[in-house]
Amino acid sequence: MKKFILAASVLVAVYSCKKAEGTAKENTTEATSEAPKTNNKIVTLNGGITEIVAALGHEKEIVATDVTSTYPASLKTTAKDLGHMRSMTIEPIMAVSPTLILASDKDINPELMGKIKSSGIKTEVFKQEYTVEGTKKLIEQVAKAIGNTDYQKLNDKIDADLKQVQPIAKKPKVLFIYARGNMLMVSGKNTPMASLITLAGGENAVTDFEDFKPLTPEAVVKANPDVLFFFETGLQGAGGNEGALKMPGVSQTNAGKNKKIIAMDGGLVSGFGPRVGEAAVGLNKLLIESTK
């Protein structure tokens, strides 16, 4: 009996400490979510979609985003970060009382989708294709969903940007590496990276599988890329250029022998939003430099 009472009182004590902390947190988020004064309260759950909404001039209406929404950086102070799509739960989304949720069909997990549907909040799930046409279509769809018809300028900017891509005479074979410790995840066909590499005048070094897969040292040698391509954060994590050159198999490839390693901002490269043209031009420049 005594043990029960003791256990119960410890539990209540621990709980009340936790609760006090929780309310403190809630107060701070309330203060920040008051900022937008427009009628729409949008939750965007994809970096590319977030960029589109912001580029259309509705940044202030975004009340919360997922972890991939890194651009524009000012969102970090105005919108709540809901974390990674795959570990997100419904209550934090409901907590910002959104009037509209925008998501991509590739990111959202079925459990969360079911919860969002039954919550009754207006939700638009877009099919994201990693092509220029797909991006333009997405821009048009997102614009319509938030009630903005002035989207043509974004599409025109993509075209204008893409015109700056210089043709490369001998297409370099580019291997995108998503580095996680010793595991090399590389991008196969139908990935945003493969698509961007093609747009930038290169050639994806992996042609025999789709999506991201771990690649063995032997297969790295067989793919024999001319250039290794990383996210800036990924390259840092892998120990910079030196770390990348030490990855198993890399030293046997053209890229390894010539030390051709490039890196770009992850959000810019993988977003396939309004900055897709910009990303292609950036990659194009890096590829031209590295093939000189």
Binding site: A8, G22, K25, R86, E91, K106, N109, E111, S118
Partner: protein, 346 residues
């Protein structure tokens, strides 16, 4: 009779404790109900008050209440499964996770999830749920049969054999689940990883009803088995002399435990160690008296899991910690404590 009223007393105490934790849990979360408290919102919902906004109604009923009920049901069933297995095998280490039931259930559920995707969309929602549930049940049932067959000879169960069989099943399950992870896409990979650590985030009332039906059927059969399990402690032959149909008892426990573990894994992923922690604490308090610890474990399992879940969704808010991390953290030291205590008898 005195013992009986003592049991009721403890049951009432733990029910009150559970109710207090449920109330605290209902009050925990990042959603802000504005002027009113979450209890007020719940009361308005129960009364059918039209003044309750749709979002308030959804969060209080379909998110928080559904999740609390799921934690209560899953915690209770995992704990009772552990207690029953420990009575059956006469060993404090026998739990669904350690002898491979959870792993078997996880494996078949994962297969159903990955391969079921091809035809799942043509099935109604209820059948989709039961597809994974049935697969998880078959997985835990097959593992249970395998463990039992391999570790029992001449009516005696060899504990070391039982645990090693569990290790083997877990290894096989892990490797095939690993293969599924390998062939899955990046986003499926994250789902599988998250799911492997357990979560109650996907709680819905449909799932709760299914779990409740399983729990009611299981408890009607299992909870009165305290005396029989006490007799089993004397050894199977002696139990038989006392008029207990040992074979029937074994079969019942095996099937029901497989059903309970299977349905819990299907809806909440792998939440380990609940079946180890609760009976261990109860045995410290009441020795191995199953007439006491069997019904009490049904209550205390709920208390443990609901507490763990409330923490898991408030520690790193607005995100949440997979609950399996917390239960394993609590269970690990207890596992070592049991090993040390029973060093000689293992």
């Amino acid at each position: 009779m005195k013992a009986q009223s003592k049991l009721y007393f403890y049951l009432i105490i733990s029910a009150v404790l559970l109710a207090i934790i449920a109330v605290l849990s209902l009050n925990t979360g990042v959603y802000d109900f504005g002027e009113k408290s979450p209890f007020m919102a719940l009361w308005q919902f129960i009364k059918g008050d039209s003044g309750l906004s749709l979002s308030d109604k959804y969060v209080i009923w379909d998110v928080r209440a559904a999740r609390i009920i799921m934690a209560i049901l899953v915690g209770s069933m995992l704990s009772v499964s552990g207690t029953s297995l420990q009575g059956l095998f006469k060993n404090p280490l026998a739990t669904g996770d350690l002898i491979g039931l959870t792993s078997g259930a996880t494996l078949l559920a994962a297969i159903a999830i990955v391969l079921g995707g091809h035809f799942k969309e043509y099935l109604p929602e209820a059948v989709q749920f039961s597809l994974v549930g049935i697969a998880a049940f078959i997985g835990s049932f097959l593992s249970m049969m395998l463990v039992y067959r391999i570790s029992t000879s001449g009516g005696k169960t060899n504990v070391v054999m039982m645990l090693l069989t569990g290790v083997a099943i877990t290894a096989i399950g892990f490797s095939i689940t690993g293969f599924l992870i390998y062939i899955s896409k990046d986003e499926q990979l994250r789902d599988l990883t998250f799911w492997n650590l357990g979560s109650l985030a996907a709680a819905t009332w449909t799932k709760n009803i299914i779990l409740a039906v399983v729990a009611v059927i299981a408890y009607i059969i299992l909870l009165p088995k305290g005396k029989a399990l006490n007799a089993m402690m004397l050894g199977e032959k002696d139990a038989q002399h006392l008029g207990i149909n040992v074979e029937r008892l074994k079969k019942q426990i095996i099937i029901i435990v497989a059903l309970m573990v299977g349905s819990c894994v299907a809806f909440s992923g792998t939440i380990g160690f609940v079946g180890l922690i609760v009976p261990y604490i109860l045995r410290l308090l009441f020795k191995s008296n199953y007439t006491f610890i069997l019904p009490l474990s049904a209550m205390c399992g709920s208390i443990l899991l609901l507490t763990a879940d409330t923490f898991s969704r408030s520690i790193v808010a607005p995100s949440e910690l997979p609950i399996g991390i917390l239960t394993a953290l609590m269970g690990g030291p207890i596992f070592i404590a049991i090993l040390v205590k029973f060093k000689k008898s293992l």
